[in-house]
């Protein structure tokens, strides 16, 4: 079975933000919720790198571990999803997440947190695949349609890779060997406790 992962090849990422708007477009994500974002490290200095970041769908996901209502679940493809019906908006997943993935609409009591929202790897949620309820709560379910997340599919420079971990690691490795440099599989050590050995 596939083990779905993201890998952002920072030597390709140009901070064009296509992943960000593709995500908004595909999942109708409202203003203020950023399931995906691009962070630029060492901005303006030689060596500057931009990295597109969202939920990495960690192995042994910290969000799931700390969730007080156990609303997270892992699909057969190891995509970490959650149920908005169960979520109580406590914010613990946000404290635990190493990537700042969980987002909260400011609709909760005292204008604080509503139900958590995050990248679903375009795999929807617990509702029936491709049902309107699923789309309304979680956005698209491209995996059910046999497609990969739109952010990666639309990445302008094919920097953001999504798919089976072994395959994208291989792609990345081949790239690095071919071109002779690589700044690393960002987040992999933290998310998957492994990295792409070159």
């Amino acid at each position: 079975m596939a083990r779905m992962k993201f890998l952002c090849d920072a030597d390709r990422c140009i901070e064009c933000n296509a992943c960000v708007t593709a995500c908004k477009n595909e999942n109708d994500v409202p203003w203020g919720i950023n399931r995906r974002r691009v962070v630029t490290i060492n901005d303006g200095k030689p060596g500057e790198r931009s990295i597109s970041m969202a939920c990495m769908h960690c192995t042994d996901a910290p969000c799931a571990a700390v969730c007080p209502v156990d609303c997270f679940y892992v699909t057969v493809d190891k995509v970490v999803l959650h149920s908005k019906d169960l979520c109580i908006g406590c914010g613990y997943c946000f404290y635990a997440c190493p990537f700042g993935a969980p987002q909260y609409p400011k609709v909760g009591n005292f204008g604080s947190r509503g139900k958590m929202d995050k990248c679903t790897f375009c795999a929807g949620g617990p509702e029936a695949d491709l049902s309107p309820a699923e789309f309304q709560k979680y956005g698209s379910n491209r995996l059910a349609e046999g497609k990969l997340p739109l952010c990666a599919e639309m990445c302008s420079t094919k920097s953001l890779l999504a798919g089976d971990g072994d395959i994208i690691a291989k792609i990345y490795k081949e790239r690095v060997v071919k071109r002779g440099y690589g700044s690393g599989a960002w987040g992999w050590k933290t998310a998957y406790k492994e990295t792409v050995a070159i």
Binding site: D11, N17, D129, G146, L150, E153, T157, K158
Partner: protein, 991 residues
């Protein structure tokens, strides 16, 4: 509650069907890799797998819901030409899917392309025609709008002449829209017609065309994959043309290519370079000549190329000698060693390509900058082959096409110019008499010491440039070289905040009798103006709501299919132009050979039919072979084109064609010319996409030898010819007379000969390849392996330009006043109907001590999220969220010295009109000390004042901000009137 898929045996769904088959079945590993984005990895398989097949296999199992149709159009946000695949259900655009099959974008997009679906949902669009009544926006009907605008135009025409109406078109028109707009101007009787190319690449077009014949990118984005050295100068492709970076970075990886970025700012593109070279804004010529100095001193030039295909390199050398490393370092700030290394790399690690954008073109020396770069390319033999060339990245989605269609003050469609022959040619194509066209133009009385112009002279005189429209409206009538000042601005799809000196345009807006803004969004023309009446807003559809073709930067033409009907009460350009022409009384003549079809509001011109008319007349540029049928076939078979060569696969319906039939695509569509992927490429037969430099400036030139004697030097190629040429040397352009001399006239069919004879009348020998409506001359020339336009030399010396050999000139507002004595601005002159006072302004700036009081160089540029004036993209909620504030980049040194913190508001003040702008500070090392940078997409704030209230209710963009052009200043290129958008001086203080 059981959560599905919580355990491994829960429904695994269709996903497993798709991905489970990694070893077998529906999706094999290769296809999975493709979806994973592998192909760009520079792997051996790149380009060899056809995506379409994979997608079809998937679709068979679980395609989009029934009732959803997929429509292909082209992204409207830049010149790369990404295919947009829209899923439409019940007339609503419901989803966007990657267009894997497009060889240009291969499924990908940038932030703008990935969010275009929002444009046709756009609740901030103009929803219905409106006019200002005593300062209040009032809804009116289309009939009323057209009728009132037409009446007002006729009234102005009667009083002040046809030239008093300015027709500002758009680079976001389709080719057909742009062509109709240009034709509209011709029938109205003015050359005051322009569009965004003026402010983006007009100097490129002028500089490049004057060097080797055509004003366009010589190669393609895809071809950069072949380059071993890539220089970017004044181009931030990572933000302005993100998808192009897919090809560039892949090329960089596969070839281990050198990528050298010259820019005053450490851009996102520079972050991916192998060498970043910082230099002072406005010193491009010194940089290039400095490189040339090293190249010639070390003998790195391509001597054979120069001797065979370049004219005047020796003249250029005389200028180049002045640019020794010390001088260049003093002017530009680039250390000798670094510049030498760049020069050596560019000359020796070939093929090398040079990419430039607004950083080069938007200068008072824009044309000269371009000419210098062209000379560098010629000296190193880096033109006319795979992987090299002048890769000029154009801006808007159809700025190349709109330029080609003649939305230009000095051209009829397809670069025929304004000479009598050009008017007669188009008169024949349009089936109207030359005399009729002439009768439409004004007679200009003598004034300001200038002689009067009759109608013929006026129709052959270039119009006002868009960069100076406000001067044409405000300057004393005596200084404006036409019957009267501008009284009406008819603006189709053009922002008001993209041109410098906004304080001056604000004043001019108040003087206009009529302002018409026809656009999907109200532009800054609307928000800036303090007008009470005489202002109309017409809701225009985007290109997603309209059929038509558009030409990408690489000259490929793609057909876009209407995705949805124009939303709200908006209408497409074709219909609006038609209705206006009808109101003004010339629709019958103008549309006589154009088929009308039923549209949203009744009969409208059919896009295909308009393109066929372009095909009938576009001989000079090879716009004749791209019939709508061929273009649609290409869109249908996008997956059959090679990623690198863009050539159609063997055995496919598009075999041998280059994708999008990049112009020139010679002859009639039936001739099946493949288009020209790489211009001036002698390694291919012309009939197969090859070419040579175009001898456009005569056959010989008289030169004076040192001893005073005169000699005629040839301008034709020597010892170089395209593959398969029957003439094994240079030759001039083909005419009927030349065919006769060669004895090739007998190859013409009787019908072709008859057409030529009817065009030529008494002197059929004079009929050239460019005006032969039969295409026979082109066909015969190609048959014999020849290029219809001839085989000439490119010019290092363009004697007809103000600076035939480029020379460094300090910007008008320069911080280095000490250099002005040696490198002054050009003397005052007149450029296109209006004074151009370089020296006066430069002197005044020095006398006023501007450099002391305004010590920071301000330059400007692009953000990836926004486009142009930005009204459209700032209204798109998905994009607007990403850039919510106008800002100025300031270096940590300058910020500390001024007590400015990152994120706080500052005032940026400019040296003219006491201008100032209140923006946020972004303290960053992207800019060096003494340099500030601002994006140019903002509007809606003016000198600290929020103008949201000036927009009609509900049409204000989500994000507003100060325009950089509030503080930019005077300065115009002497050839094209391009503004100085990249160097001015400002002061910055905490607000």
């Amino acid at each position: 509650m059981l959560i599905k898929r919580k355990s491994a045996d829960a429904s695994r769904g269709k996903l497993q069907a798709a991905l489970g088959g990694l070893s077998s079945g529906v999706m094999d590993r290769r296809s999975f890799l493709r979806r994973s984005g592998l192909v760009a990895g520079g792997l051996a398989v790149a380009g060899s797998i056809q995506i379409g097949a994979v997608r079809k296999a998937e679709a068979a199992g679980f395609g989009p819901a029934t009732g959803t149709k997929v429509v292909k159009n082209i992204c409207t946000h830049c010149s790369v030409g990404c295919t947009v695949k829209a899923e439409v259900a019940n007339g609503v655009w419901v989803g966007q899917e990657p267009a894997w099959e497009s060889p240009i974008n291969r499924g990908t997009h940038c932030a703008k392309g990935a969010s275009v679906r929002e444009l046709v949902h756009g609740d901030r669009r103009i929803k219905y025609p409106m006019k200002l009544v005593e300062g209040q926006w009032t809804k009116i009907s289309w009939e009323q709008a057209i009728s009132e605008i037409g009446d007002k135009m006729l009234e102005i025409r009667a009083k002040s002449g046809a030239d008093s109406a300015y027709l500002l078109g758009s680079a976001k028109f389709s080719n057909e829209g742009a062509y109709l707009f240009r034709k509209f101007a011709a029938f109205w009787g003015t050359n005051n017609v322009d569009h965004q190319a003026r402010i983006c690449h007009s100097t490129t077009v002028a500089g490049v065309a004057n060097t080797w014949g055509y004003g366009a990118m010589t190669n393609s984005y895809n071809d950069i994959r072949n380059a071993k050295t890539v220089i970017f100068m004044g181009s931030n492709a990572a933000e302005a043309h993100p998808v192009s970076m897919q090809h560039i970075l892949a090329g960089k990886e596969i070839n281990r290519a050198n990528v050298i970025v010259f820019d005053p700012r450490m851009t996102r593109t520079a972050a991916h370079a192998t060498e970043y070279v910082r230099f002072r804004s406005g010193t491009d010529i010194a940089v290039i000549w400095g490189m040339m100095w090293h190249i010639f001193k070390n003998g790195w030039e391509d001597k054979e190329f120069i001797s065979q295909r370049v004219y005047g390199m020796a003249d250029a050398l005389k200028e180049i000698e002045k640019y020794d490393p010390k001088t260049v370092e003093d002017i530009t700030g680039i250390p000798e060693a670094q510049l030498k290394r760049a020069a050596e790399t560019f000359a020796k690690v070939k093929p090398a390509t040079f990419i430039w954008c607004m950083g080069v073109t938007q200068h008072t020396v824009g044309t000269a900058n371009v000419r210098a770069i062209c000379t560098l390319l010629l000296a190193t033999g880096n033109v006319g082959g795979m992987g090299n060339g002048a890769n000029i990245f154009r801006g808007h989605c159809n700025v190349q096409g709109a330029t080609d269609m003649g939305l230009d003050v000095g051209n009829l469609p397809l670069y025929y110019g304004l000479v009598e022959g050009a008017w007669r040619h188009w008169g024949r194509v349009w089936d109207v008499s030359y005399d009729y066209l002439q009768s439409r133009f004004d007679e200009v009385p003598a004034k300001g010491g200038r002689p009067a112009r009759n109608r013929k002279a006026n129709m052959e005189t270039s119009g006002h440039t868009s960069t100076r429209w406000f001067d044409a409206a405000s300057l004393p009538a005596e200084q404006v070289d036409q019957k009267d000042n501008l009284k009406a601005m008819i603006v189709f799809g053009h922002g008001g905040n993209t041109i410098p000196r906004i304080p001056d345009s604000v004043k001019a807006l108040e003087n206009l009798d009529l302002l018409v803004v026809a656009d999907p969004h109200p532009t800054n023309f609307v928000s800036l103006a303090k007008r009470k009446n005489g202002t109309y807003l017409l809701p225009i559809a985007t290109q997603f709501e309209c059929d038509g073709s558009r030409t990408c930067s690489n000259r490929s033409i793609q057909w876009g299919e209407k995705v949805v009907e124009p939303i709200f009460e908006s209408a497409n350009d074709y219909w609006v132009i038609y209705k206006l022409a009808e109101k003004l009384g010339f629709a019958g003549d103008m549309f006589k050979n154009i088929q009308m079809v039923k549209g949203k509001y009744g009969m409208e011109p059919q896009a295909e039919s308009v393109l066929r008319e372009i095909n009938r007349g576009g001989w000079s540029t090879g716009y004749t072979g791209q019939s709508p049928e061929r273009l649609k076939l290409h869109m249908e078979h996008q997956d059959k084109f090679d990623l690198v060569t863009l050539r159609g696969a063997k055995g496919s319906p598009v075999e041998n064609d280059f994708f999008g039939l990049p112009w020139p695509c010679w002859g009639t569509p039936e001739m099946k010319h493949p288009g020209t992927h790489v211009l001036y490429d002698t390694s291919l037969e012309p009939i197969n996409g090859g070419g040579a430099f175009r001898p456009r400036f005569g056959v010989t030139r008289e030169e004076t030898r040192p001893d005073g004697s005169k000699v005629n030097v040839t301008l034709l190629a020597e010892g170089s010819w395209p593959k398969g040429s029957e003439i094994k040397d240079g030759y001039p352009e083909f005419t009927m007379g030349m065919l006769k001399r060669l004895g090739w006239d007998k190859d013409l069919t009787p019908a072709e000969a008859a057409t030529i004879n009817s065009i030529g009348g008494n002197s059929p020998d004079g009929v050239s390849w460019a005006v032969d409506l039969s295409g026979g001359i082109q066909r015969v020339a190609l048959m014999h392996g020849c290029v219809p336009f001839g085989n000439g030399k490119a010019r290092a010396n363009a004697w007809n330009l103000p600076d035939p050999i480029p020379t460094h000139r300090e910007p008008i507002y320069t911080p280095r006043v000490d250099l002005v004595a040696k490198w002054p601005a050009r003397p005052d002159e007149r450029t296109l109907r209006i004074p151009n006072l370089h020296t006066t302004f430069q002197k005044a700036a020095i006398e006023k001590g501007v450099a002391k009081n305004f010590p920071i160089i301000l330059t400007s540029g692009r953000l990836v999220e926004y486009e142009g004036g930005g009204e459209e993209t700032r209204s798109n909620k998905w994009l607007a969220e990403l850039q919510q504030d106008m800002f100025v980049e300031i270096s940590p040194d300058d910020a500390n010295a001024r007590g400015i913190k990152d994120g706080q508001f500052v005032w940026v003040s400019g040296p003219e009109n006491n201008s100032k702008a209140r923006v946020k500070a972004l303290v960053t090392e992207r800019v060096g000390k003494g340099v500030a940078w601002m994006p140019f997409h903002f509007g809606g704030f003016y000198q600290g004042v929020d103008q949201r209230g000036n927009y009609p209710k509900g049409t204000d963009p989500i994000v507003l901000g100060e325009s950089v052009n509030t503080v930019t200043t005077y300065g115009y290129d002497p050839v094209t009137g391009m503004h100085e958008g990249k160097v001015t001086l400002v002061q910055i203080a905490a607000a």
